[in-house]
Every structure is written in C-alpha cells, then in structure tokens.
C-alpha cells in the first residue's frame, strides 16, 4: 500500500454489495453515525455565528492554498529557526524513507504513533515493518484496527465498523502478542475496554525513544504544529520520546497564528460533536528542557499538488478531516468505509482519492465519484464548505473524458443517443412514440434489470404530456 487507496480493492459497487450484506456492520454504522449526528447538531446549534465561521474557515484555507509556496517557505524557515529539521517528500516512498532513516539513526526497533491520516496514506507502518521497525498505533481505534489486522473505515474512528463485543474479542485474542495482555476479567463495558488500552500502551509510551505524528494544522508564521486529540495518546507521543517526527501534508498550512482560532472552533464541533476536544497540543520546534529535543517535520506532496492544480477540485485540500461528511452520508452509513477502498472513505474520499491519484488509470478510483446520490448532505455540514457534490460531478466528467477516444462503452453510446434525442423536441417526440423514452433508455443501457430487481418500473402512459398538450391545446379544448 503506497497510496491513499488500498491495493486490490474492487470497484465501489461491488465492494458496497458485500458490505450491504453484512447486517452487523450496518447496525454498527447506523448506531454510531446516528449518535454523532445528534451530538454535532447540538453543539453546532449552540453557536449563532456558525455559518460565518464556516465561511471564514473556507476563506482562510483558500488564501493559504492560493499562496502556498510562500507559506511553505515561511513554515520551513520558522521551523528551522525553532530547532526543527525540515524534510520534503514528493511521494509516499520518500516520506516513509525519511521516517525510517530517523528511526535507524537512533537504532530503535519500535516507534509510537499518534493517529495520523497522512502516515496511513503513505503506508508508513508497512514501510517501517520492512525495515524491522514496529510502529505501535496508540489511538484506541487505530489500536483496534492494528490488533485486528484490519483496515480503517472512518477518518476519525477507524474502527467504527466494530462494536464493543468485537473490540473485546480482539483485545482478548491479540493484545498478548503485542505486549501487555488484556486483563483476564475484561468485559465489553467501554470504560473497561479503554482501561485495557491504557494498561497495554503505557509501557510502550514509557520506553519509546521515537514518536511519530501527523499534524492537524501547521502555522507558517510561527512554525507551530497542532495536534487535536482526545485520549492523551497524542500528548504521550509528542512529549515523552526523545525524538519526534511529524509527517505533514503540505495542505495543512494555516498562514498565521491568529487564524488558527477559527479551526479550533469548527473542528471539534464537527468532529466529535464537542465544544472542545479533550486535548490540543501545539509546539514550535524544540523547547529546551521540555519534550523531544530532536524534532523533524516531513512535508509531503503525494498527489496534493495534482489536486491543487485542479481548479474545481482544489477546494478538497481545505479538508480538516473532521469526518462530519461521513457521518451524515446516507451512502457511507450503509456501505461503511471499506467499500471506498481507501484510508479516506466517505464523501471526501470519493473526491480526494481521484484528485490525489488522477482518473482514467484505475477502475476502482474511477468508480468513486459515482459512489454518491449527490444528495448534498456532506456540503451542508462541511466546516470548510467543500462543495463535494459539484466536485463529484466535475470528476465524473473527468472520468468520462479520460475514456473518450477509445471504443465507446454501452453507456457512452446511450448517452450520446440521449444527447441527440434531447437536441430537438421533434426527435424527443418521435422517441416517445417509439419506445417510451425512459424505459427504452433503461433497456438500451442494460439497466432495466438493475432497476427492476427490487423496484417496479412504471409503465409508460398511452399519451405523453406534449401529445396531450397538442391534442387539447393545453387542456383548453
């Protein structure tokens, strides 16, 4: 796995079919997303300037992206001045190599990790494993995924597809092989499960020499990185090791310290549905006598500049990974995250993966922009106002365009036919008389079976509206 997408995953419709058949999964997802939707709505409703905050958050990010080179150079300069070492990586392999190099230089065979989307995206754990270095995930949900040898299925809660009983079983079966075993009398009460994670990971935190993190935000003007979290595992990784490596996507830049406040307001409310998350850590390089004394920052491209060059899709780089769009998405709620085949699932994944990787190359990636009914619920909640439906439609056009030129598919031929039919009302009237356009089109596309397997098709009426209008002079005769 060297990109945002898991290799060997089937295209979305097929993967979704498998997920839909799993009733336990659907129950877990409906329960979890239902809970969080309610919490989010409550805390967002508390603020009377919510819409203003969204607009501001989007505006700050847009301005940051428009002048990204300047901000990245400032960030590099401020970080270096504050005692950090800045690295650049074009792609996943380069980014992982930097982390591995740091670990090797300190002769460690393990690192502790704060939950970070970027490090999953670049396949860091696999890259480190290949060098004999164990990367311990310390976020509870990541730990569940790692112990269960599973794939993440949600941005905020990668183990959202697991319920408490399944989590208990994973802990009982797998903790011992990774370190301290689960307590003998472990039940499925969430607080006990959380305590088992506390006990299991404590020894790793205390002995770790190298910590690895991502960053939610990177403030250019001050060289400050920000990690937003809940459990304190982040603080452990950012504070206790001697060496810290942070893998940061270049789009994480916030130009000024003052502008951070908007994000610290919108992120927790959108994400966990809280006024504020339990812990937020900010640091600028090395602080003598406090925390890691060797600090590295890896600035990663890995497709971001490709997305940045896309005038419509560029807005996806505003994303602050809150996962609100997943939680309200009716498709996500039913298929779960694995169907998207990527560390970035849900509505944002449906646009971000094709934007990072490009379309017209991989069938699975090309299927993602179609994994949406375009209902717009994601756009409505997105704290940085990413117009996901519009980007989806634009990407669909890119997918279609990428396939133009070759032998046209059945669909392309049918769309061309429909386009010609709709060019004039005369042709449309003719088509209506011949076939009943809708059912005829459905049949020509080979779609009638897909529709009719669970839904009755309406029968075409004897007379179209336009025929009625003409016959009756608009009902007047």
């Amino acid at each position: 796995m060297t990109g945002a997408t898991f290799v060997g995953m089937p295209a979305f419709p097929e993967a979704a079919r498998a997920a839909l058949a799993d009733s336990q999964l659907r129950h877990n997802l409906a329960h979890a997303t239902g809970t969080i939707r309610g919490k989010r709505a409550r805390v967002v409703g508390e603020l009377d300037d919510w819409e203003e905050l969204r607009t501001r958050a989007a505006g700050v990010k847009d301005a940051a992206l428009a002048d990204l080179e300047t901000h990245l150079l400032t960030l590099e300069e401020r970080l270096t001045a504050a005692g950090a070492t800045v690295h650049w990586a074009r792609d996943a392999a380069e980014a992982s190599a930097v982390v591995a190099q740091v670990a090797r230089a300190h002769e460690v065979d393990e690192v502790v990790k704060v939950k970070s989307m970027a490090t999953v995206e670049i396949g860091l754990n696999e890259a480190l494993a290949a060098e004999g270095i164990a990367a311990w995930e310390t976020d509870l949900a990541e730990l569940i995924v790692q112990l269960g040898d599973d794939l993440p299925s949600h941005i905020l809660v990668p183990a959202i597809h697991r319920n408490r009983a399944e989590i208990r079983q994973i802990f009982v079966d797998k903790m011992a092989a990774a370190g301290r075993p689960a307590p003998d009398d472990l039940t499925e009460v969430p607080s006990e499960l959380a305590n088992a994670a506390r006990l299991h990971l404590r020894e790793k935190f205390l002995r770790a020499k190298v910590g690895v993190s991502g960053a939610n935000f990177a403030v250019a003007e001050t060289g400050t990185l920000v990690v937003v979290e809940s459990e304190g595992n982040g603080r452990m990784c950012l504070t206790l090791p001697e060496v810290l490596v942070s893998v940061v996507g270049i789009e994480k830049v916030v130009p000024t310290w003052a502008e951070l406040d908007t994000f610290l307001q919108v992120l927790p409310r959108s994400s966990t549905g809280e006024r504020m998350n339990p812990y937020t850590s900010t640091w600028s390089g090395v602080t003598p006598g406090d925390g890691p004394q060797e600090v590295h920052v890896v600035l990663v491209d890995n497709g971001r500049t490709r997305a940045l060059a896309d005038e419509v899709g560029r807005q996806a780089l505003r994303c602050i990974r809150c996962s609100a769009c997943l939680n309200v998405c009716p498709v996500y709620e039913r298929t779960g995250g694995h169907a998207y085949g990527s560390v970035y699932p849900g509505p944002i994944g449906a646009i971000l993966n094709p934007l990072l990787k490009g379309v017209g190359v991989d069938e699975q990636v090309d299927s993602l922009p179609y994994a949406s009914s375009l209902c717009g619920a994601c756009y409505e909640v997105c704290p940085v106002k990413i117009d996901i439906p519009s980007v989806l439609v634009d990407l669909r056009a890119q997918v279609v365009d990428a396939h133009r030129g070759g032998r046209p598919s059945v669909e392309a031929a049918a769309m061309k036919g429909a386009g010609q039919t709709f060019a004039s009302s005369r042709r449309l009237g003719l088509a209506q008389r011949l076939t009943g356009l809708g059912t005829g089109l459905a049949r020509r596309l080979g779609l009638a079976p897909a529709w009719s397997s669970a839904r009755d098709l309406p029968t075409a009426p004897p007379e179209s509206f336009r025929a009625w209008w003409r016959r009756t002079d608009g009902g007047r005769s």
């Binding site: 877990n28 809970t35 969080i36 505006g59 847009d62 992206l65 428009a66 002048d67 990204l68 080179e69 990245l72 504050a82 070492t85 650049w88 990586a89 380069e94 740091v102 976020d139 949900a141 809660v157 959202i160 319920n163 408490r164 989590i167 969430p190 607080s191 959380a194 990971l201 205390l206 001050t222 400050t224 459990e231 304190g232 603080r235 206790l240 270049i250 130009p255 310290w257 502008e259 610290l264 307001q265 966990t272 809280e274 006024r275 504020m276 998350n277 339990p278 812990y279 937020t280 850590s281 900010t282 600028s284 406090d290 925390g291 060797e294 491209d301 500049t305 940045l308 060059a309 560029r314």
Partner: protein
C-alpha cells in the same frame, strides 16, 4: 546532527515547490479580513459549568482556601509539583528531572494554568512557571489545576490571541476521553483520568 537525507532530498524540496508554484499559477484568494480585538474577560460561572460538563471536578474558592482545597483534592495522594506553584503542598515531590517512569509512579500533579476559556470550558497551559513541563501534567493520573478567575477569557479567539505560540501549549478540556467505541464518549484513557479544577476568586 547531520540533516537526515538533506543531500538526497534537496531535489524533492525544489520539485515540490515547483509543482506548488505551477498548480497555483492562476489561483488568487484574499484572506478574510479580521477585526482585531482585545481579549474580553469571560463569564466565570459559565467556565465552571462547562468544565464540569466534561465530567471534571470543579470547585470555586477564595485565595486563602486554595491550599486546603488542594490537600482535600489530593486526599493523601502523592503529588509532583512544578517550580513556581506558589502553594504549599505537604508531602509533594519536586520536579527535579524525573523520568517518565518516575512520573508514572506518582499519583498526582498540581499545576497552575495560563488561560481559561469560558465558552468551551477549556484550560490552557503554556508550561511556564507553576505549570511544569508537559510530561508533568500528563503522566500522573490525577491533575489538580488552579485557575484564577481573572485568567478566564470569553472564547477561543480570545484565548488564541492571548497565547504565545513560541511556547508549547496544552489545551485541556476535561479528563482524557475517547469516542472510539461506538462513538460514545467514555472518560479516562491515557491522560489523567481525573481533572480537578480549582477556580480561585
């Protein structure tokens, strides 16, 4: 410390920057204007209420009661105290370079804070005098935190404006917690499982 990979990766830097430049050649956007404002004092009642919403223990007290309240909150637990705390904590351990493992053997920590945020019930530590280095308020399981009423500001923008980003900052909203099991919040994971806040004055 030789810069890791600097030699081989210098071209990565140039290339990423070149790609960024090309990708944004036609992009323009002006940052939204902000009116600068002075941090406003926050509503202390609201602050106390909202800290308590996170299932932290919150007590209000006068300046002369602080030491007694700290002792009561510790209830015999051994606490580590940072330099400059300014309150006597009998039986406490000073922070003279304790290792993480040492700290793990200590029950509690007592610190001051830098700012309180009324709107969100958040306490911010900038790890200056009386607050200790970051590990101190992290590893022990009970964190007793003394916040002066005059440190409470109204909201997050006021807090950000009054903080120095050059310092490491820790924003604390209640005890450690997780929503990772069925998206339900459970208090108590890796950070202190009990947060005891004394609001003074």
């Amino acid at each position: 410390m030789a810069a890791y990979g600097r030699g081989s990766l210098v071209s990565a830097r140039d290339e990423v920057l070149r790609r960024v430049r090309e990708a944004t050649a036609s992009a323009t956007a002006t940052p939204p204007a902000r009116e600068s404002r002075e941090p406003r004092p926050g509503d202390v009642d609201r602050f106390a209420e909202r800290v308590a919403d996170y299932k932290a223990v919150v007590e209000r007290c006068g300046p002369d009661e602080v030491e007694a309240r700290i002792a009561a909150a510790l209830d015999g637990a051994v606490a580590v105290v940072p330099d400059g705390l300014g309150y006597a904590v009998p039986g406490s351990v000073p922070d003279d370079g304790l290792s993480a493992t040492d700290l793990d053997g200590i029950d509690a920590v007592v610190t001051l804070a830098r700012v309180g945020v009324a709107e969100t019930g958040t306490i911010v530590l900038d790890h200056g005098p009386g607050q200790g280095r970051r590990a101190l308020s992290l590893v022990p399981d009970l964190h007793v935190c003394v916040v002066r009423a005059d440190q409470v500001v109204a909201d997050v923008p006021d807090a950000v404006a009054s903080l120095d980003p050059a310092r490491p900052l820790t924003w604390i909203s209640g005890p450690s917690a997780t929503s990772d099991i069925e998206l339900d919040r459970v208090e108590g994971v890796h950070g202190p499982r009990t947060l005891h806040v004394l609001v003074v004055g």
